[in-house]
Symmetry: D3
Subunit: 341 residues, 6 copies
C-alpha cells in the first residue's frame, strides 16, 4: 500500500470539559494533536501506512506525543527530540450561539525552533509516496518555514505527490509581513491543495467577484483563480461549511480538477460534538480517496466529506473512524445512525 509522510507540529490540547467557559474550568481535558498529525492518525486508522515528522522536547510531555502517535500506529522514526517546550493550545468548547475559543500558546516550542539541517529529509521520506504539509508550519517561525521548504523540495526530488492544507491562521505569521512570498515558493511544488476563499485572500490576495463564502459558485471561482496562479496544482478542493450556530453546521465540499468541478452531498451536522480537526479529517479522507480511488474523483470527494462529517461527532482533534464506518454513512445517513447491535 502507498505510504504517506506528514510534517507538522503536535501540541497538547487542553479543552474545557462539557461546555464550560475558561473561567469556569477547574479541569482541562488533555489530548495531543495538530493539523498534520490529525491527518496522519486518520490515515493510519484507515489502514494507510503513515509516518510523522516533527520535533518534541525531551520531557514527559514530549513522550506523550510519541505514545499517542505510536498508539494509532503512526510511524515515529521522524519524531526528533530537542528544544524547550511542547506547544499548547487551550480550547473553550462553545455551544449554541457561543462560539468555541482557542488560545494558542505555541511560541518558542520545540517545533518552532526547528532549524534547517536538523531533519534528515532524505531518510525520512524514503519509501513514501505522498507528502503532506499545511500552512501552519511555515507560519510558526521563519526557521520552521525553511525546514518545511527543505521537506517539500526533497519530496519533489524523490517523486512524491505533495498535498497542502492552506490553513491560514491570523494569530500566527508573526515573523514576517509577507506570508505570500513564503507560501508561493512552497505552493509552486504542491500537487493537491485544500483552500478556502479566506486562505486564498489572506495568502495571495485572491478574490472572485460577488463575495459570498457560502455560495459554491463563489468558492469554485476562487479555486479557478488559485489554479490559474499555480498551474502545477492538479487538484484543488474547498470545504463548504455553513454555520447555523456553534452546535449546528452544514457541511459539503467542492473539487476542481482539470477545469472540471465536482460537488459533494451536503451533510447537516447537528449536534456537533467537536469541530476542531474537521478540515484535517477531510484532508485525510481526500488523500485516502485519491490514493485508493484515483480514477473516481467523485468517490474520493464524497469519501472525504463523509469522513469529516463523522469527525464532527468525535471529541478530540483526530478522526478515529474506519473506512467501513465512512462507507456506511455514504450509503445513507439514516441507516448509519441506527444502533449497531
Amino acid at each position: 500500500m502507498k505510504k504517506v509522510a506528514c510534517f507538522g507540529e503536535v501540541m497538547m490540547r487542553l479543552s474545557t470539559p462539557g461546555h464550560q467557559m475558561f473561567g469556569q474550568a477547574r479541569q482541562f481535558n488533555a489530548c495531543y494533536g495538530g493539523a498534520e498529525a490529525n491527518v496522519a492518525i486518520s490515515l493510519a486508522t484507515f489502514g494507510v501506512p503513515s509516518s510523522f515528522i516533527t520535533r518534541v522536547p525531551a520531557n514527559d510531555l514530549g513522550e506523550c506525543v510519541w505514545q499517542e502517535l505510536r498508539r494509532y500506529g503512526v510511524g515515529t522514526q521522524g519524531v526528533y527530540t530537542g528544544g524547550d517546550r511542547l506547544g499548547l493550545y487551550f480550547l473553550e468548547s462553545g455551544a449554541g450561539f457561543r462560539s468555541s475559543k482557542v488560545i494558542y500558546d505555541r511560541s518558542h516550542s520545540s517545533f518552532a525552533a526547528l532549524a534547517p539541517g536538523m531533519i534528515d529529509w532524505e531518510a525520512q521520506l524514503a519509501g513514501h509516496d505522498w507528502f503532506h504539509w499545511s500552512g501552519i508550519s511555515p507560519a510558526v517561525s521563519q526557521s520552521a518555514a525553511e525546514v518545511c521548504l527543505e521537506g517539500v523540495k526533497m519530496a519533489k526530488q524523490l517523486g512524491l505527490q505533495i498535498s497542502c492544507d492552506l490553513n491560514y491562521r491570523s494569530k500566527l505569521w508573526q515573523y514576517t509581513d509577507s506570508p505570500e512570498e513564503v507560501m508561493t515558493e512552497l505552493m509552486a511544488l504542491t500537487d493537491v491543495v485544500l483552500a478556502n476563499p479566506d486562505d486564498a485572500w489572506h495568502y495571495f490576495g485572491i478574490k472572485a467577484e460577488g463575495y459570498d463564502i457560502d455560495d459554491p459558485a463563489y468558492n469554485e471561482a476562487v479555486l479557478r483563480l488559485l489554479v490559474q496562479k499555480f498551474p502545477n496544482i492538479k487538484t484543488a478542493v474547498t470545504t463548504l461549511r455553513r454555520t447555523i450556530n456553534a452546535s449546528h453546521n452544514s457541511w459539503a465540499a467542492l473539487m476542481l480538477q482539470h477545469d472540471e468541478s465536482l460537488l459533494s452531498p451536503v451533510y447537516d451536522l447537528n449536534p456537533i460534538i467537536d469541530r476542531v480537526g474537521g478540515g484535517d479529517s477531510f484532508m485525510a479522507g481526500l488523500i485516502y480517496g485519491l490514493l485508493q480511488h484515483p480514477d473516481d474523483l467523485q468517490y474520493a470527494l464524497n469519501f472525504a466529506v463523509a469522513a469529516s462529517a463523522l469527525k464532527h461527532s468525535i471529541e478530540g482533534d483526530a478522526n478515529l473512524v474506519k473506512v467501513a464506518d465512512v462507507a456506511k454513512l455514504m450509503e445513507g445517513s439514516s441507516v448509519a445512525a441506527r444502533v449497531s447491535r
Copy 2:
C-alpha cells in the same frame, strides 16, 4: 392493583461517558438492565406491582442486580442465584451521524445456563395477572428457550395475560438455524405482541408488499399478516422510529386490534440522550395502558408513546418517569418542557 411478572436476563451495561468511542474510554459508566427488566422497573415506577424472574451469579455483581431491582421496588423473589457469570454489554454512545455501538458479552452467563426445572414457575407466577417475556430470552441458549416456554405455558395455565416484545437480535440465536420453530410455539400462547417489520421478517419470513419500514401503512400490513399467522394475538403493536441521525429521531406507534388500526401522535426526539431501552419503555407504557385503561386503546397507545418519548431523554436502560410525567407530556409538549418550579 393488577400484578405483572417479567422474565429475562439482567446484564451489567458498561457505556462510554459523554460520546467517547470505545478506544477513547478510560472509564465506563455502569448500570444494570435488560429488555424485560426495563419493563419491570418502568411498571414499578408507574406504581404497578411487578416481579422479576431471572438468574444471577453468586458474586458481588450478581448482588448489584438484586439491589437495583429492589431499589425500584421490583419483586425479587424470582431472582435465582447460580451459574458462572453476569452477562455484560458494552455501549459506545453515538452522536450525529455516528451511530451507537453495542458489543454483547453475554454468552455463558448465569441466565443463559438456566435449565428446565430450575424455576418454580407455579410459585413465581401465583398471584400475578400478566406475564411478559421477550424474544431475547429464547435467543440466548436452547435451555433458556425451554425455560421460557415453561413459563409461558404455566402463565397460560394460570390464566395470565401474556405479552411479548419480539426484539430480534441477529447477533444472538447462535444455537439454532430455525428461530421460527422456537418462536412459533411461544407466540401461539401470547396475547399482546410488539413487533416491527424486521422482527416479522427474521422470525417468520413475513413481508408485506412495497417494503418501506418508515411507512405506517407498510407496518400495518405486516401486523395484519402476523395476526393472520397467530390468530391468538389480541393486540399487535409496532413502534415507528424514523432515524434522522443518532441524536434525532421521530417516534410514534401503531396498534392493530380486531382489525382496527390506531395511530399515535408523532414525537420529534431531539436531542436523544439514550435510545437504548426505548422499545422496552414503550412496552411498559403499553402494559400500563392496557391494564389501567382497557377500554380506551387510543389512550393506552398514546400513553406508551409518550412514556417512551420521555425515556429517550434519560441515560440508562430503564424509564424512570412517573404516570404524572407522562400525562403532562400527553397534554402538550411545550407545557411539559417548561421548568417545573
Copy 3:
C-alpha cells in the same frame, strides 16, 4: 460609570450532572446564584460597577457566597452575616421532552430571616445610580418583604432609578394570601419592570383579551394594562419564550415605553445548555443597555435579548459573557458561532 445596587438572596444551587434525574445522581454540581445576584454578576462582567446587598450565615457556605461575588468583582460591602442557614435549591437538568425540575429548600434561610432595620440602606445605596430588586425577595417572608420595601423607599428618596423583575413563583408566597397588596406598594415606586403575562395575572389579576402567551400582541396588551395600573412605570418589558422542548426554545423580547412598542429579533436557542437565569441575564442586559444607550431603546432591547441568548449556552446561574461577545452576536449569529482562533 453609573453604579448599580442589587438586593436579593444568594442560594447554593445543587444540580444533577449531565442530564441525570434526581434519583440517579450520586454527585451534584454546586454553584451559587439567585435572580438578583445573577444580575449583579452579569453587570460586573459587562464592566458596570455593581454591589450586592444580602445576608448569609456565618459558616463556610456563607463564605462561599462572599468568594463568588468577589471573584466576579461585585461589591460585597452589603453582604450581612447572620441567621441559621444558606438557602438551597436542587436542579434536575432536563432534556428533550423532559423538563428541568427545581426543588426549593430556602425556608428559614439567613435571607428570609432579614428584619427591618438590619440593613443600613442609606449607606449601602449611597453613591449608586440604580437599584434592582425582584419579586422573589418579598415572596420569601413577610420580614424580607418589609426590608425590600425599606430599600425601595430609600432608593427613591436618594433619586436612584429602580427596576424590578416580577418573577412570580407559585411555590413561594407562603406567608400571605395577598401578594398583590405587598407588590402594589413596591411597584408604585418602580421605574422599569420586567413582567410576563403570568406575573401580571398572578400578582395583579391582569389579563388581556384572547389569551395566548406566545403571541407578541397579547404580551403587549398585558404590558399596556400593567402600565395603566402603574403609571409610574417608564419602561415595561417582557421576554417571549416559545418552548419547543426543554433543549430547544425560541427567544425574543418586547418593550413598551411611552405607548411605543419595540420588538427584538428572534433567536432560535438549540441546544440549550442551561436556561436557569435566562430572564436574569436579560434583565442585566437591559439595565446595561438603558444605562449605556439611553437614547437607543431598540439597541438596549436587542442587547438584552442577545446577551440572554448567549446565557442559554452557559452552565450555571449567571451570564459570564462580555459586552464584546454580545456585540458579536448582534452583528450576526453565524459569524459569532465560528471558532475564534
Copy 4:
C-alpha cells in the same frame, strides 16, 4: 431470624470529593444516611431482617431515601411521607492534621416535624424482637422526642429488647435546657447502651475520677456510674478511639455487663477513608453479635469492633461489609488484607 426495628432521621449527606475544603468544592458527593439508618442497613447487610421508621418529604429527594433503604433490603413499611424538607448535612472530608467538618442543615425537616400520634407504633413494631433508637432523635425537636418516647414505650410493652446509642451532639438540643430530663425517661426503658464519657457527662453530668478519655479504666469507671444510675441497663459499651490525626486512629471497645468488663482487641486504622458512621457500624455489629452469639459476649464485642474497623475503609455513612468479611478480619488482619483472587 430475630427482627430489628430502628427509628431515626435519614438525611442527604453532601460531602466534598477527595479531601477538598468547602470553599474548593464545585461538586458534592451525595448519599443518604443517619445514625440509626446506618444501623439498619448494616444489619440488613449482615442478613438480619431490619425495618426502618422515619418520615421524609413527598418529593424526589424523599423518594431517594425510600430507594436507598429498599436497595439494601431494609423494610420501608415504617417510612412515612409528609413535611417540608429532607434534612441535610454537609461534610468536608479532612486529612492529616486537618479534621473533617460537618455543617448540619436539618432544622425544620420532615422528621423534626414528627408529632405524637403520627406513627402507628404498634403496627410498626409488631413482629420485631429488638428496637434501636439514638440520642439524636430526641435532640432534633421536642415533638420528635415525644414520638421517640412513644416508640420506646411501645417496644417495652411488646417485649422487645431496646438499645440506644447516646450520640450526644452539642449543635442539636436547641429546644430545651435539660436534655437530661428527656433522656432519663428514655434511658430508664433501655437495655443496651452505647455511651462514651462525653455522652455521660453532657447528658447526665456523670464524670469519674482522673479524667482521661483515652484510658480504658476511665471509660470503665464511667460506664459503672452510668449503670449505677440506670440499673435497668444490662449491657453498657463504649468505643475507644484514639486520634493520632484525621487519617489515623486506633480503635477498640469496652463492654460492661453484670459487673464484668471485657476489652476488645485494638485496631490501628490507617488510612481512614471515612470515619463518619464508625460508631453506627459498631452498634450494628454489637446488635448482630448479641442476637447471634448471646452467650459469647467477648465474641459479640470483638465482632462489633472488627465490623466498625472495616467501616472506616468505606466511603459513605453505612457499613457495607458482610459477616464473612468481619469474620476474616477477626481471624487476623494480615490475612484479611491480601487481595482476594
Copy 5:
C-alpha cells in the same frame, strides 16, 4: 540490545474508582493488562525491546489491546486476532483492613481458546534472546497450556533464556486436577523462576519445615527444594511481602543461585496506590537486571525490588517508571521522594 518475547493474556481491567466497593460503583476505570503483558510493557519502558504474543477478539475492545501495547512500544507482530471475547477482570480497590477483591471473567476468552498450531512460534521468537511466560497461561485452558508448551519448547530450541512467574491462582485451573503434571513439563525447560511458598505448595506439594511465609529463611528453604526438584533452574527468586494492611506492606526479595542466597533491602510501602502487578513489575525488573547486569546479581535483585516498590505507587497494572527512576530510589529513598523541580 537483547530482545524479550512474552506470552500471555491481556484482559480489560475494570476497577472501582477511589476505594469504592463493587456495590457502590457507578463507574469503572478501564485499563488493559495481564501478568505477562505487564512485564513486556515495563521492559519496553526500561528501554528493552520487547514483543508480545497473545490473541484478542476482532472487535473494538481487542483493538484497544493493540493500541495499548503499541503505545508503550511493545512489538505487536505476535498479537493474533480471533475468538469470541476479551477476557475481563473486575477489581475492587481495598484500603486499610478491607482487602482488594478480584472477580475474574476470563473464561471462553480469545486467549483461552488458543489452540496448538495457531501461533507461528518460530517466526515470533526469531531474533529474541529471552522468553517469558507465567503460570497463568497454562491455567486458563488445556489448549492454552498446550500452546504455552509449544512456545517454551521452541524457545529452548532457538536457544533463548526462559523465565517463568509461577503465579498460582486457585480460581483458575478448572480443566484439570493435576496442574503439577502440566507445570512440571514446562518448568523442566525454564531457567529463571519467580516462585513463592504458596506457588511451590500448590503446584508441586513442596513445603519446608516450620511454615512461616514471612520468614526469609523459610522462603529460602522452599526455593532450595524447588531447585532440587528442577535442577535446570539457574535462578530462583521469591518476593517477600508482609501485609500490615491493604494500604501498607513491607516488600523485599530473596534470590537463590548456585546455592548462594541473596537478600534485597526492605521497602516499607505506605501508602500503596495499587498492588496489582507488583510481582509482574518485579519480574520485569529482574529480567532487566539479569540482562544488563549479568555479573552483579545483587544489583539485579535490588533493581527488581526497587522497581516494584515504585510500581505500588502507580494506578493500573503496569509499571511505568524508567531505569533512572529506579536508580534514584536505589540511591536512597528520601532523596527519591523529594519533589523533582
Copy 6:
C-alpha cells in the same frame, strides 16, 4: 491592621488527578498559584489585608488570575496586563516512593517580560507596612530581576519591612552565571529571610561544617553564616523537612534572631495531600506571626509551622486555613483532628 504587599508571578498549575503519572493523565486539574501569591492568599485568609503585584496577559487565562486573587480578597490594584502568555507548570503528584515531578513552562511569560518602569512602585506600595518577594522573581529573567530590585528599593525608601523566601530553583536562573551578584544586592535590603542550606549554598556558596541538612544544628550554623554575611537580616528562618517518602514527611522550623535560636515543635505529616506551597504557607504564617505577635517569636515560629503543617493536607498551591484552625492545631493535634460537628 498592618498591610502586606507581595510581588511575584502567578502561574496556571496543571496537575494530574489522583496520583496519575503524566503519561496516564487524560485530564489535568487547574489552579492558579505561585510562591508569592500563595503568601498573599494565605495572609488574606488569616485576615491580614494583602495586595499583589504581578503581570498577566490580556486573555481569558490572565483574567482567571484576577478572579482567583479577588476571590480570596487579595488586592488586585497591582495586577498589570500585557505580554504574551501566562506562565504554566505541570505537576505530577507522587505517592509513596515515587516523588512528585514539576515541569516548568514559564519562559516568555507576561511576568518574565516585565521591564523597569512598568510598575508604579510608589503607588503600589503606598499604605503598606510589609513587602514580600522571593528568589524566584529575579531568577526568571534579567528584566524581572531589575523590576524586583526597583520594588525592594522603593519598599526600603517607604520604610516597609522586607521579607524574602530564597527559594532557589536550579531550572531557573538561565540568563546569568552569577545569581549571587543579583541576590546580594536584593538581600542587602531585606529584613526577614527564609533560607535553607541549599539556598545558602547555591546563591552564596555558604556551607557550614559537617553537612547534614536533616540536622537542626547544621541548619542553625548555616543561618549564622548567612546573617554574618548580611548583617541587615533581623530574622533568619529555615524549615526542617525530613522526607520519609513522598506521602510522609516530618516538619519543623528553626529561627535565628539576635544570636538566639528557637526550635519549633515537630509535626509528623502523614499522609501528605499536597506539599507544593508548603514553604509559602510557612512564610505567610511567619509574616502573620511577626506582625501579630512581634514580642513572642516562639509563638510566631510555632504558628508558622502549624499553619504549614495544615497546608500539607490541602490540594492546591495555597493554604486556605484560618487563624482559628491553626490555633486549634497548636493546642494539640489529636483534638484538632476530631470531626467538628
